[in-house]
């Protein structure tokens, strides 16, 4: 089933909004996606008909809210082919998911002399927590290099994954380069050394089918807001065995079994990691986003984006833009970073904004990667299910205009 972005567009009320009197050309979905009516209405429905705190009350309304929340968990498990909803922890988003692993699993398991491996293309959210952890524990943080085509230097794997490596932290899809990383190969390498792999799927989960068993991921994190869901919700997938063994993250209500004056025992997974009142409506909204994406089919989402990315790359090359990252759409997603000679990305973003075009300019929360690319910043257009060739054409017109100003 192929995806018609003009039909998809009609599901997103925001596209009725005009920008400076013009069609809204939203090319910043890698930053946050727009939300379909189905998700917005589900959140409204929850607040109007089901709202109560979860897991705490015996009345009918609380049963409804709990069913909605736990239903969303089951949908998320299905979305990434996780074996059981018990392996799905709700969080505020990818950043919190990764920090949960840092504070819970890694603090208990990474010691002085150990190594944690990240890559040169990680988002700050999958880098800074590991800087903090290794500084605190005396472990060493290492960075798998990226080549000039924006791909990981897998030829160096033998040097970087050794018996000292306890954890590999890698993005499945780069938010800057679009690169889809060979996560399964990394998983096999680290598992052979007895270590674990954490996969940052914030950029991948909205755009391609993700299967934790195929990836053989020990942990996998993603965010609701980049995949048509509301902000404030995200997921940490963890192997059940690991989650069982891990100490709690936040302490508080709901995560406990029994509390005494001086100690407590913990609730079963995943509730052990969900202290306090969670973002219930947001989790329900994420469940609706999963339903929405399933209705389109993740294979169709990916196919649409590959086709549109190929078109955008062709057009960008034609105007002489320097595009970073792989040129083969089989190896990349639709987050496209580029530089236009003589026009600083910030100027570019401001100028194309006059045409109703939203692109991001800056370092995209990946400053070490910017240094590797040798640029202070890039412009980034990122594509999603509601983008069309017309959107790309409008961007190109605006780019030509910007080039004209600076010529």
């Amino acid at each position: 089933m192929s995806l018609d972005p003009e039909v998809v567009r009609k599901d997103f009320p925001i596209f009725e909004t005009r920008m400076r009197g013009k069609r809204l050309v939203y090319l910043d979905s890698a930053n946050t996606s727009q939300k379909p009516r189905q998700v917005i209405e589900r959140i409204v429905e929850f607040y109007e008909h089901e709202n109560a705190n979860i897991h705490r009350a015996v009345y009918e309304l609380a049963e409804r809210s709990t069913a909605a929340y736990e239903g969303a968990r089951a949908k998320c498990a299905h979305f990434i082919a996780a074996p059981s909803p018990r392996s799905i922890v709700f969080t505020r988003g990818t950043t919190e998911s990764i920090n949960l692993v840092r504070y819970s699993w890694a603090r208990a398991n990474v010691r002085e002399g150990d190594e944690v491996l990240v890559t040169e293309m990680e988002h700050h959210s999958n880098l800074v927590p590991w800087q903090l952890l290794t500084q605190e524990s005396g472990a060493t943080l290492r960075h798998l290099p990226v080549n000039d085509d924006g791909m990981l230097r897998m030829d160096l794997l033998g040097d970087y994954i050794t018996d000292k490596t306890k954890l590999v932290c890698v993005g499945l899809m780069s938010n800057v380069l679009g690169t889809i990383n060979p996560v399964r190969q990394l998983a096999d390498a680290i598992h052979a050394m007895g270590g674990l792999i954490l996969v940052d799927a914030a950029q991948a989960a909205p755009h391609m089918p993700v299967d934790v068993s195929e990836l053989d991921a020990d942990f996998l994190a993603f965010s609701s807001h980049k995949m048509c869901g509301p902000t404030g919700a995200g997921v940490l997938y963890g192997r059940e065995r690991l989650l069982e063994e891990m100490p709690p993250f936040h302490g508080g209500g709901e995560m406990i079994r029994e509390v005494f004056a001086d100690h407590s025992t913990w609730n079963e997974i995943p509730h052990k990691f969900e202290a306090g009142t969670m973002n219930i409506a947001q989790a329900v909204g994420l469940g609706a986003a999963v339903d929405y994406l399933h209705s389109l089919g993740m294979d169709s989402v990916r196919a649409h984006e590959m086709e549109l990315t190929a078109y955008a790359l062709e057009r960008l090359n034609a105007v002489g833009a320097e595009v970073h990252g792989p040129s083969d759409v089989d190896q990349r997603g639709g987050a496209i970073s580029f530089n236009v000679a003589d026009v600083h990305p910030h100027d570019l973003a401001t100028i194309v904004d006059q045409e109703g075009v939203c692109i991001r300019a800056g370092h995209h929360c990946a400053q070490p990667l910017m240094r590797r690319l040798g640029v202070p910043a890039t412009a980034r257009a990122s594509l999603y299910i509601y983008n069309t060739r017309e959107d790309v054409d409008v961007l190109m017109g605006a780019l030509e205009q910007a080039k004209g100003w600076f010529a």
């Binding site: 600083h344 910030h346 100027d347 401001t350 300019a361 400053q367 202070p376 910043a377 100003w405 600076f406």
Partner: protein
């Protein structure tokens, strides 16, 4: 002033033909500052004769607004004393915060930067040079 006019009439002139661009050697004060959010980088060199700012130059990489604003700044404050330079930086910052800048005549063509106020995320680009100058003035030997 429309964006088009702002860029074409003022910003691009200074961006393409920056004034006082380069390094001062020797110098009394050198500061390196950046805008981590956007990657603008600026080096500012100052030379003083007593309380007078007799030499100023900048080097940097950044968007047209950050570089043009730094260029305009060097033209405006060169030859002023520390107190006057500080007052001009403060007036510019007030103007960019959308407040009354004080003596508008004193600012001269800097007033053109006011067009940037309409683009809030770009204000810190315009102020990178000025904030660096204020720090540098505190280091007068």
């Amino acid at each position: 002033m429309s964006l088009d006019e702002l860029y074409k009439e003022v910003i691009l002139d200074h961006y393409r033909t920056p004034r006082n661009r380069g390094r001062l050697d020797p110098h009394d004060v050198k500061l390196e500052r950046n805008n981590p959010l956007c990657g603008d980088e600026l080096e500012l060199y100052l030379n003083f004769d007593g309380e007078d700012l007799v030499g100023i130059a900048f080097e940097g990489k950044g968007c047209s607004i950050s570089m043009a604003s730094a260029s305009m700044m060097t033209e405006k404050v060169k030859g002023l004393d520390v107190k006057q330079a500080r007052a001009m930086a403060e007036s510019t910052k007030r103007m960019m915060a959308g407040e009354e800048p004080g003596d508008i005549n004193e600012l001269g063509d800097l007033v053109s930067l006011k067009g940037v106020v309409k683009y809030p995320v770009r204000i810190k680009c315009a102020l990178l040079g000025w904030n660096t100058l204020l720090e540098g003035l505190d280091e007068v030997p």
